[in-house]
């Protein structure tokens, strides 16, 4: 570690700390952008990058002259991977710092924790991570994928292109995998997959001894039918899982694993030479060659000062979210949340993979879906993609309770309108 970069890092930490305590100089003529990502604790691994992404986008916007003639100013707080703290910090952002918009959260728990605060104080949150759906809040814009923009297309790919007949749904034991697997199980059964061909396995957070489970998967996959693993295994548990796969020589040609929570950044901590061919489903891959993406990567490397850093899907989601918001502010001529929100509907901004993202009345966006195979260098080869963009569905059509519910903030002004009873449930989300 060079002394210089160490000093700069320490300086960086001091800056974020001072920002966290709200000590940055504030000017009356700035637009304040709240950044609510964990910079310490378990989730720092994923969320620090997103904080840097927003800081980069703000810097770029300011270089272009800011918005409405004002400079943008980031207010960074650290909720420290602590769910109740997320709620406190968002209250602090909205009440004490009076931010005009917040970009933040990663886990579904943290989003659920801040939801009441944003609805009470009428804030605006851009949430950049793929999630389990079953939600549409008036005050949240979901720029990550809903299950129908990631999980369902991935399963379709495995079923139709790779002829998979037997399924292992493996996940970490919490809300996102449980809900996603419920949707997937219902979907698979609707496609004629039998009960005995589905194996569901949950593991605790940070599970590190995967020997028995990988052996089970091997056994399950040896019945002569093509088998695949659909993995919603989260965070740190992935590294020992993939290590065990490669040690037990489960090759992607025998039993491919398709993951929804593993991207370029997660792979940077794993030796990928033995993982070639395992899959991930995302709406963005760093290896996709477009001019916008090349420029984004170039800017990212320049901003972070390290050309070995990778870009990933949630970063693109923030890119889209930020541009959506900036455009809406320009159109509305103000940063007032309600006015900005009404300008947001139907807005189109380019995504990094060559298409456009449109904001739908259900607060989700349209996204292309890509299936990538892991390469030896930790990047992905795109092996399949949807024809165009897939509109995000807040409520899954495969789950019994959620089938009849509709989210439409333009015509119905409701996030969970029950089409059978003709009522909005009254909750805001």
């Amino acid at each position: 570690m060079k002394a210089k970069s160490l000093i700069s890092k320490i300086a960086g930490v001091c800056m974020t700390l001072s920002a966290a305590f709200g000590m940055t100089a504030t000017h009356a003529d700035t637009i304040k952008v709240g950044v609510l990502h964990s910079l310490s604790g378990t989730m720092a691994i994923s969320e620090t990058t997103l904080k840097d992404t927003i800081l980069m986008l703000i810097e770029e916007q300011n270089r272009k002259g800011g918005l409405l003639g004002k400079k943008l100013e980031a207010v960074v707080v650290d909720p420290a991977s602590n769910w109740p703290l997320f709620a406190e910090r968002s209250r602090e952002l909205l009440q004490r710092h009076n931010v005009d918009v917040v970009f933040g959260c990663w886990t579904s728990v943290s989003r659920k924790a801040v939801l009441p605060v944003f609805e009470e104080l009428n804030g605006l949150l851009f949430y950049p991570v793929q999630y389990e759906g079953e939600e549409s809040s008036r005050n949240v814009i979901y720029t990550g994928a809903a299950p129908n923009q990631q999980a369902i297309p991935a399963v379709d790919y495995l079923m139709n292109e790779m002829g998979i007949e037997r399924w292992v749904l493996a996940g970490t034991d919490y809300v996102y995998p449980r809900t996603t697997n419920r949707i997937l199980e219902a979907y698979l059964k609707s496609q004629g997959v039998k009960d005995e061909d589905i194996m569901i396995n949950y593991t605790p957070f940070g599970h590190s001894d995967w020997q028995s489970i990988v052996a089970d998967i091997k056994r399950f996959g040896s019945a002569g039918k093509a088998t695949a693993v659909v993995s919603t295994i989260n965070g740190d548990a992935n590294v020992p899982f993939y290590n065990e796969l490669s040690n037990q020589q489960v090759s992607a040609e025998d039993i491919p694993v398709v993951a929804f929570s593993v991207g370029e950044e997660e792979l940077s901590g794993i030796d990928t030479r033995n993982l070639v061919g395992h899959l991930s489903a995302w709406n963005y891959f760093m290896s996709i060659e477009t001019d916008q993406n090349a420029e984004f990567i170039k800017n990212w490397h320049a901003f972070i000062g390290d050309t070995s850093r990778v870009t990933n899907d949630p970063m693109e989601a923030h890119y889209i979210g930020f541009n959506l918001w900036a455009q809406a502010v320009e159109k509305a001529g103000t940063t007032d949340v309600d006015k900005v929100r009404s300008e947001l509907y139907g807005l189109e901004v380019p995504n990094l993979t060559g298409g456009t993202a449109t904001l739908l009345p259900n607060h989700h966006i349209t996204k292309p879906v890509f299936i990538g195979e892991i390469r030896a260098d930790g990047q992905y080869d795109v092996v399949w993609q949807t024809d165009g963009e897939v509109p995000g569905e807040a409520w899954s059509r495969y789950l019994p309770g959620s089938r009849d519910i509709k989210a439409d903030w333009v015509e119905l002004n409701c996030g969970n309108y029950n089409t059978k009873t003709g009522k909005c449930s009254g909750q805001n989300y």
Partner: protein, 571 residues
Amino acid sequence: MNIIMARLPLTGSIIALLCYLMWWPMQAQADEEGMPEAGMPDEWVQEVVTDEFADMLAELATASFPRKVELVNTLQLRGWPGVRDALAGLLEGELYFSQEEQPEGIRVYVVSGREGDFTLLDPVTQQTEQREALSGLRRITTNNPLRRNLRGAVARFDLLDESPAVRRQAVAELRRGLDSDAILLLRERLVTETHRGVTRDIEVALALYDLESSDAEVRLTALEVLSGELGNDVYNRVQRLLATDASGEPLEPDAAVRHMASLAIDRIEQRRSFFGFLETLFFGLSFGSVLVLAAIGLAITFGVMGVINMAHGELIMIGAYTSYVVQLLMPNHIGVAILVAVPAAFMVSGLVGVLIERGVVRFLYGRPLETLLATFGISLILQQLVRTVFSPLNRQVQTPDWMSGLLRFNDVFAITYNRLYILIFMFIVFALLWLVMHRTSLGLKVRAVSQNRAMARAMGVRSDRIDALTFGLGSGIAGVAGVALSLLTNVGPNMGQAYIIDSFMVVVFGGVGNLWGTLIGGMSLGLGTKLVEPHVGAVMAKILMLVFIILFIQKRKQGLFPQKGRSAEGH
């Protein structure tokens, strides 16, 4: 086709075209003979062959995945010299094509070597060239179905390889997709094959194919060959002989064959469950060894000294980061780096341990609650320090080649090398630590101080220094454990937290202050968890383990091996 026309003189091109058209229907036959068809000048044939090869490779470069599969299937039947190179290169992701416009069209190369020193092999001309960078070249992409096809294709060539291991691999690969083509190759090979293992594998493959025969005698003989084989494909295939159709009629018409098949299945299932049990046993031992490794340092700091050290997990983490740094420093000697990392991690973590003891813990002896809080604070500080210095992202520690892979006993029982080495490593660490504690003067003093501080001091033991050294020893061992764990799990700022609870559990369960207790405790917890896990799942197994320990501690407050004698009352 265009390329052929462009490259040959006009008259030549017409002749070549005619040859080409004549040659096309004959090529299947020609290939089986392994030589070009006579009747036209050799060099023309050569030219046409290389051109066709080059054309196919050029098409391969940009074709869709299904088309690539077709091309590979066509290519593998040709006996051209460079075909294996090209297919194996494509399989390994080493096949590149030139993007820039060249007079002869797209060229394809097999690339080997590293940045600054690449070797490019043109499979068509078999010529090599050196390049510094791969600018202008693009990798030909593959996907899983294509790679599966490629493996089969390459296996056809590998059947003639010099090494029996490669040949066995090739037979295993061909067994996945037995068609008449593959059977022909295998039969041919069986005649000349001299290696017993390969011969047996080929016989099994042929027997599998013979089960499809319409002659009941042939099926019976095949079953005889197959009985006792453990392979999944054999099991599944034989199982199918016992299946019945919708009306309950057996699919296999011959009763003798059915009888034979059910006998074979019984035998296979018996052996499978036996090896399945062995496998579970090994998983348990291996999980136990990880628990012991993580806990053994704590057995010193907490067990012997009585310090509730919440920063124990972070000392493991520091050891893991040391192993990462050592690998960074020795990028070309990954295998050696791991061995260097062991003493290095011991030193680094040990030093940090001594600092913690001298800086904080020594002021808090006899005040367990304050020690707990202070060391918990230290653990947070260490985590954030690592996050700042190394970034919050996980770091990658590469597994050396000699530690990866499987030790395969048969088709259903194999153990992973890294787990095996870690199991052995744990025993070595344990033995060394035991020797230090029981056969050195340091160990003697450590035990003396922990049993009766005042008396030890009266005998001239500098208890201060011993405290620092003991804490350093425990911390150093934690660092060594970190090196082993860095090969299994993620190296990140949070990795220590995953082990702290387990470590305390093992030490308390085994009996505080007893190294043997930690060993037996860790191993039995590991075995117990793994025996239960297949039946109740990982989440429940963890819960059951905790419940078991709670109940156990209720009954036996001192753990498995309670300390006897005077020191027991001292706690």
